[in-house]
């Protein structure tokens, strides 16, 4: 049994496997299938200052080895999250990460301020959202805006702050470095890649929102490349995700430089994926004579 513990910005995880935001709700549903305390952590559904109804249906389409989603951040708002969902999560004996979204900087700041005294271990900032004051351009696409939002949120955050990067940029190392410069304690990547699917019979997009975020196995090589690039650029810990469906993918992410991984879409295919990945990482470490998972982080030997 290898030591699977990892520490990210002072937060200890019993293992490096976290369920990804938006795919795992607030934990209650999957807890009916297995003991979720076995997870390293849970990144909660993206939460905003006020309740959001989300986009009209259909909100999901299947694509080759992946999916597109356009949920549109449906969530009950941060106060309801603290009141209704946190008490259950708190009892689960796993790291709880609040995932925060907004449409202007003031919303992010206020949402994180309301979480100051809440029992969450970490904050993950989803900066892939459109900034209404900047004509809907995502907060996460320019280095300047990433540094700015990180700085402002960091000023009010009581818990360690992780910035979740969007892959829909020219150079993700620039936005990662900007997050670090703004004071982020960690970065996580990747969020979804914008995509589209059309029904050729009706000539209409499957998603009512026309476009959506792509995730699942198909994005894995892109995500891995980005995690590797970012891990080589910043000194803060990197949490890798995007298309992980099996333990081998997670090991690749760790070798590329991720200290922990998140699993999203694969939960839909097989609810037990996170547990299988944890077991697989452990067996891999044992087989290779590694005592700790940390011994393989960033250990890819590039040509």
């Amino acid at each position: 049994m290898a030591d699977l513990r990892v520490n990210i910005a002072g937060v200890e995880f019993k293992n490096p496997v976290i369920t990804a935001s938006g795919t795992f709700g607030f934990g209650q549903e999957y807890a009916r299938i297995y003991d979720i305390s076995r997870l390293g952590g849970i990144s909660c559904k993206g939460t905003t200052l006020h309740e959001r109804p989300g986009n009209p249906s259909p909100r999901i389409a299947e694509t080759p080895s992946g999916i597109l989603n356009s949920v549109g951040l449906q969530n009950p708002g941060v106060d309801a999250f603290i009141r209704d969902d946190l008490p259950f999560l708190k009892k689960q004996n796993t790291v709880i990460i609040a995932n925060i979204a907004g449409s202007q900087i003031e919303d992010y700041v206020e949402t994180v301020r309301r979480l100051q005294d809440a029992d969450v271990d970490m904050i993950e900032l989803n900066i892939s959202c459109p900034n209404v004051k900047e004509g809907g351009v995502s907060f996460g696409t320019s280095a300047k805006s990433v540094e700015n939002i990180t700085k402002q949120v960091k000023a009010v955050a009581k818990q360690p702050l992780m910035i979740k990067l969007t892959p829909n940029v020219t150079d993700i190392t620039e936005t990662a470095a900007a997050a670090e410069a703004g004071g982020a304690d960690a970065v996580s990547l990747i969020n979804t890649l914008t995509g589209m699917k059309i029904d050729i019979n009706t000539r209409r997009p499957i998603l009512k929102n026309n476009t959506g975020g792509m995730s699942g196995a198909a994005v894995f090589p892109v995500a891995l490349r980005m995690v590797w690039q970012v891990a080589n650029r910043v000194k803060i810990p990197v949490v890798g995700m995007g298309g992980i469906t099996k333990w081998q993918d997670a090991v690749e992410m760790l070798l590329a430089g991720a200290t922990a991984v998140q699993i999203g879409t694969a939960n839909f295919t097989d609810a037990y994926t996170p547990l299988k990945v944890i077991a697989g990482i452990n067996d891999y470490l044992d087989e290779h004579g590694e005592k700790s998972v940390l011994d393989i982080v960033g250990k890819v030997q590039v040509w």
């Binding site: 795992f24 549903e29 109804p53 989300g54 249906s57 909100r59 999901i60 389409a61 879409t265």
Partner: protein, 255 residues
Amino acid sequence: MVQAYFKIHSVEKLNDTTYSFVIACPALAKESWCGRFVNIQCGEKTLRRPISISEIDSENGTITIVFEVRGEGTAWLAKQKAGDELNILGPLGNGFFPEKDKPAIFIGGGIGCPPMLGAAQDYGKNAEAILGFRSKEQLILLDKFEQCCQSVSVTTNDGSFGTKGFVTDILKEKLQEKPDCIVYACGPMPMLKGVAAMCAEHDVQCYVSLEQRMGCGIGACLVCACKTHEKDGEHMRHVCKNGPVFDAREVDFNG
């Protein structure tokens, strides 16, 4: 709720594109009731396919599912044989709770018939069923409905079997005969919309089973949204968790 491999006990082809599987799944069957559904892994597909539980045999620990080949997922499913194992997540959703002290009418449109069969069987002898199909070739489960119902009416769009027209044509007469009944329906959206409107007009309680594209199937991902208008206002409910069965008066058929 379980996710596990269960064996296909037997397979029956009901028409050119529709199959019926009896699945041996004691752990799942014991939590099943009519109108609930299961989410089935189909080969290499990322998403599971939601299929209703049509019949339940709790004594033998089996459920029956009936599905139509629509695309790649259901085409894969149709290739499975007796003895093969399916990875199934379920049972899911709220299901029907037929009120047995009121006359009930069960309406199924095409592949919407299978979930109504379990509900009609559960309700018992006084059930009335109205089944609608495009034409005679699509007809399924008529014998099964006849076994458990007091009366079964069939409509086909082209008149090749039963009454030519739509289920609502028959429903209209029935509602005049039995103004105190409850209606349960499953089928394509335009049919459900028509049934719901007619029931509202006659002030008859109506429950509809809805479909929506799904991710997790258990209420965690929020992709299967359905807009409702409830006493306390508008909500985005989720077909997999709050449904698939909804009070027709609350459903926003345009949202």
